[in-house]
C-alpha cells in the first residue's frame, strides 16, 4: 500500500473518517464546556453526524473496494450508513433533555455515541472477518459504557456488567469462529473464502463449524433465541435513551455483519445452515412474542418485542442460499431494519417522555389515560404499536410483507405461517398498550420537551406517509446489493 492508494481508500470511507475525527476532537473540546452548557456538546455531536450524513447522501452510488479488499463500499453499506447516522442523530435529540432530567449530563455520553456509530459504520463496509471483529469491538465497548452511564444507579450498573460479560463472551465466540474459518480456508477475506470454497481447497467440516460459531456470536449481539437472555435486563437497566439507540443501532449492525458474511461468503453452506436458521427464526419469533405478553414494564415489553423483531429480520435470511432469492433477501432485511428503526424510535421517544426519575413511570398503569392529557403522545404511541403489529398502511406492515414474500419465494411456507401467527399473538400485547392509553382512567405524567416531540411526531408521520409511499424506499433497498 502506498500513499496515493491510501488516500483513495480514505476517501472511500470519508463519512467514517469524519465521525471518528469529530469524536476525538469533541472529546477534547468537551473538557472546556462547563456542566451547565452540555447542550453545546450534544449540538456538536449532532452536527458531526449530520456532516457525515450529507457526505454519504451526496455520493450514494459510490462503489469501491479499498484497503486491499478489506473494506467494500457499495449500495448495501451506503444504505446502512444512512440508517446508522440517522439513528445517531435521533438518539442525540432523544437524549439531551432526558439526560438533564435524570442528572446524567456528561459530555462523554455524546462522544461515546459517536464512537459506537463509527463502529457500526465500519461494520457496514467490512468485507474481511478481521475488520468485522474490529467493528464489533468498536461498536460494543462504547455501548457497554453507555449502558452503565447512570452509575451509581444499581440497575444501570447491573445492565452494564451483564452486557459487558455476555457481550465479550459472544465476541470471543466470533473470534473463535473466525479462527476456524481461517483454518479451513487460509484467509479471512470474504471474497477469498468464496474462492477457496469454489476451488475445493476448503475443509468443509471446519468451515461449517466456523460459520456456526459466527452465527452464534453475532446472534448474541442481535438477541436471537436462545442467545437472548441478556436483552430484557440490559434494556431495562440502561438509561432509556441508550436503550432506544441500542435496540436499533446494535441490532442493525449485527444484522449487517450476518447478511454480508452469510450471503457473500457462505452461500455454499446453505444446505447445512438453512435448517439452523429456520429453527432459530421460529424460536425467536415464538419466544419473543409469547413472553412479551407477561410483561408489565414497558421497557421489558419493548425488549421482548425487539427479540421478536430479530426473528422477523432473520426470516429474510433463511432462503439466502438460493441465488435468485438472495437479492430479495438483502432488500427485505434492509427494508425491515428501516421500518423497525422508525417504529422503535417512535415508541421509545414516548417511553422517554413518560419516564420519571428513579425508574418510575415505566409500568403499563402509568400509560392509563394518556389520550386525555397528552393526545399527541398517545397518538404517536398508537401508530408505533400498530406498526410493530404490522397493520397497514404503516411501514411495519410493509416490512413484514416483504419479508414474508421473500420467504415464500424461497419456498418456506411453514415458517411464513409461524411468522403470521406470532404476529397475531403480538397484537395482544401491543394493542393492550393502546387500550390502556385510550380506555383506562389515570393521571399520567409526561414532560413537554420540543426535541422529543419533534422526534416522536416526525417518525410517527414517517411511519404512515412512508408506509403509503413505500415504493421509492423499497426500490432503494433493492438497489442496495452486495458486491
Amino acid at each position: 500500500m502506498n500513499l496515493s492508494n491510501a488516500s483513495a481508500s480514505l476517501n472511500a470511507i470519508l463519512p467514517l473518517v469524519v465521525v471518528i475525527l469529530w469524536a476525538c476532537a469533541l472529546l477534547l473540546v468537551d473538557l472546556f464546556i462547563t456542566k451547565e452548557r452540555k447542550g453545546l456538546t450534544a449540538l456538536l455531536a449532532a452536527i458531526g453526524m449530520l456532516a457525515s450524513l450529507i457526505i454519504t447522501l451526496a455520493r450514494l452510488d459510490l462503489e469501491a473496494v479499498v484497503f486491499n479488499g478489506m473494506v467494500t463500499v457499495d449500495g448495501f453499506s451506503n444504505f446502512l450508513t444512512v440508517l446508522f447516522l440517522g439513528s445517531g442523530i435521533v438518539a442525540v435529540a432523544l437524549s439531551y433533555d432526558y439526560l438533564k432530567r435524570m442528572g446524567l449530563e456528561k459530555g462523554e455520553y455524546y462522544v461515546l455515541l459517536l464512537f459506537t456509530v463509527s463502529g457500526m459504520m465500519l461494520m457496514a463496509v467490512a468485507s474481511d472477518l478481521i475488520v468485522v471483529f474490529l467493528a464489533l469491538e468498536l461498536l460494543s465497548i462504547p455501548l457497554y459504557v453507555l449502558a452503565g452511564i447512570a452509575t451509581p444507579r444499581l440497575d444501570s450498573e447491573e445492565s452494564s456488567l451483564k452486557y459487558f460479560l455476555l457481550g465479550s463472551f459472544s465476541t470471543g465466540i466470533v473470534v473463535y469462529g473466525i479462527a476456524l474459518v481461517f483454518g479451513a480456508t487460509g484467509t479471512t477475506s470474504l471474497a477469498g473464502i468464496v474462492d477457496a470454497i469454489t476451488a475445493g481447497s476448503a475443509g468443509m467440516g471446519l468451515l461449517v463449524a466456523g460459520a456456526a460459531m459466527l452465527l452464534i456470536g453475532l446472534g448474541f449481539k442481535v438477541a436471537l433465541v436462545p442467545f437472548h437472555m441478556w436483552t430484557p435486563d440490559v434494556y431495562q437497566g440502561a438509561p432509556s435513551s441508550v436503550t432506544a439507540f441500542m435496540a436499533i443501532g446494535a441490532k442493525a449492525a449485527g444484522f449487517a455483519a450476518i447478511l454480508r458474511i452469510f450471503i457473500q461468503a457462505f452461500p455454499a453452506l446453505s444446505v447445512d445452515l438453512t435448517p439452523v436458521l429456520w429453527v432459530l427464526a421460529a424460536l425467536t419469533m415464538i419466544l419473543g412474542n409469547v413472553v412479551a405478553i407477561a410483561q408489565r414494564n414497558i421497557k421489558r415489553l419493548l425488549a421482548y418485542s425487539s427479540i421478536a423483531n430479530a426473528g422477523y429480520i432473520l426470516l429474510a435470511l433463511v432462503p439466502y442460499g438460493q441465488s435468485d432469492v438472495a437479492a430479495d433477501s438483502v432488500a427485505s432485511a434492509l427494508f425491515y431494519l428501516l421500518a423497525y428503526a422508525f417504529t422503535s424510535f417512535t415508541a421509545w421517544s414516548v417511553v422517554i417522555a413518560l419516564e420519571q426519575v428513579e425508574g418510575k413511570g415505566l409500568e403499563l398503569e402509568d400509560y392509563a389515560g394518556l389520550s386525555r392529557r397528552y393526545p399527541i403522545l398517545a397518538l404517536t404511541m398508537t401508530v408505533a404499536m400498530l406498526s410493530f403489529t404490522g397493520v397497514p398502511p404503516t411501514l411495519g406492515f410493509l416490512g413484514k410483507f416483504y419479508v414474508f414474500r421473500t420467504l415464500l419465494e424461497g419456498g418456506f411456507p411453514g415458517l411464513a405461517v409461524i411468522g403470521v401467527v406470532t404476529s397475531l399473538i403480538s397484537a395482544y400485547y401491543y394493542l393492550r398498550v393502546v387500550v390502556y392509553m385510550y380506555m383506562r382512567e389515570g393521571e399520567p405524567q409526561a414532560i413537554r420537551d420540543p426535541w422529543l416531540y419533534i422526534a416522536a411526531t416526525a417518525s410517527a408521520i414517517c411511519l404512515v406517509v412512508l408506509g403509503i409511499f413505500s415504493q421509492p424506499l423499497f426500490a432503494w433497498a433493492s438497489q442496495a446489493m452486495l458486491h
Binding site: L3, L28, L31
Partner: protein, 118 residues
C-alpha cells in the same frame, strides 16, 4: 497432517497425568495433622486479620488501565522501528496518526485529573 500433532497430544496427556499423579501420591501417602493455624486462609504466611473484603484504593486500577494504554503503544512501536525503512513515509504517517489518537486519550485523562493521586 493430523499425525504431526500426535506429539502434542502425547505431551498434553503426559502433563495432565503427571499433575494428577503427583497430587494423588501426596494425598495417599502424606501425613495429615490439621491444626487451627493450618485451616486459616493463606495470606503470604502472615497471621490473617480482618475480613477479606476491605476497601482498597481504586488508584491501582486507574494506574493499571493507563499502563495498559501506554504499554501497548510501545508494543506497536517495536515492530514498526524494525521495518521502518521498508515502510518509509507511509509507515511514518500511519504511526503519527496512531500516536495522535493516543495523545487525545492522554490529554483527556490528564484534564480529567487521572494523574492526581492525592
Amino acid at each position: 497432517m493430523p499425525q504431526e500433532y500426535i506429539p502434542i497430544a502425547v505431551l498434553i496427556i503426559l502433563a495432565t497425568g503427571l499433575a494428577f499423579l503427583v497430587v494423588a501420591i501426596g494425598h495417599l501417602f502424606g501425613p495429615r495433622r490439621p491444626t487451627q493455624r493450618k485451616g486459616q486462609p493463606y495470606e503470604s504466611g502472615m497471621r490473617p486479620f480482618g475480613p477479606g473484603t476491605r476497601r482498597m484504593p481504586v488508584h491501582f486500577y486507574l494506574v493499571a488501565v493507563l499502563f495498559i494504554l501506554f504499554d501497548i503503544e510501545v508494543v506497536f512501536f517495536l515492530p514498526w522501528a524494525i521495518v521502518f525503512r521498508q515502510l518509509g513515509l507511509f509507515g511514518l504517517i500511519e504511526m503519527i496518526i496512531f500516536i495522535v489518537i493516543l495523545l487525545v486519550g492522554y490529554i483527556y485523562a490528564w484534564k480529567k485529573g487521572a494523574f492526581e493521586w492525592e
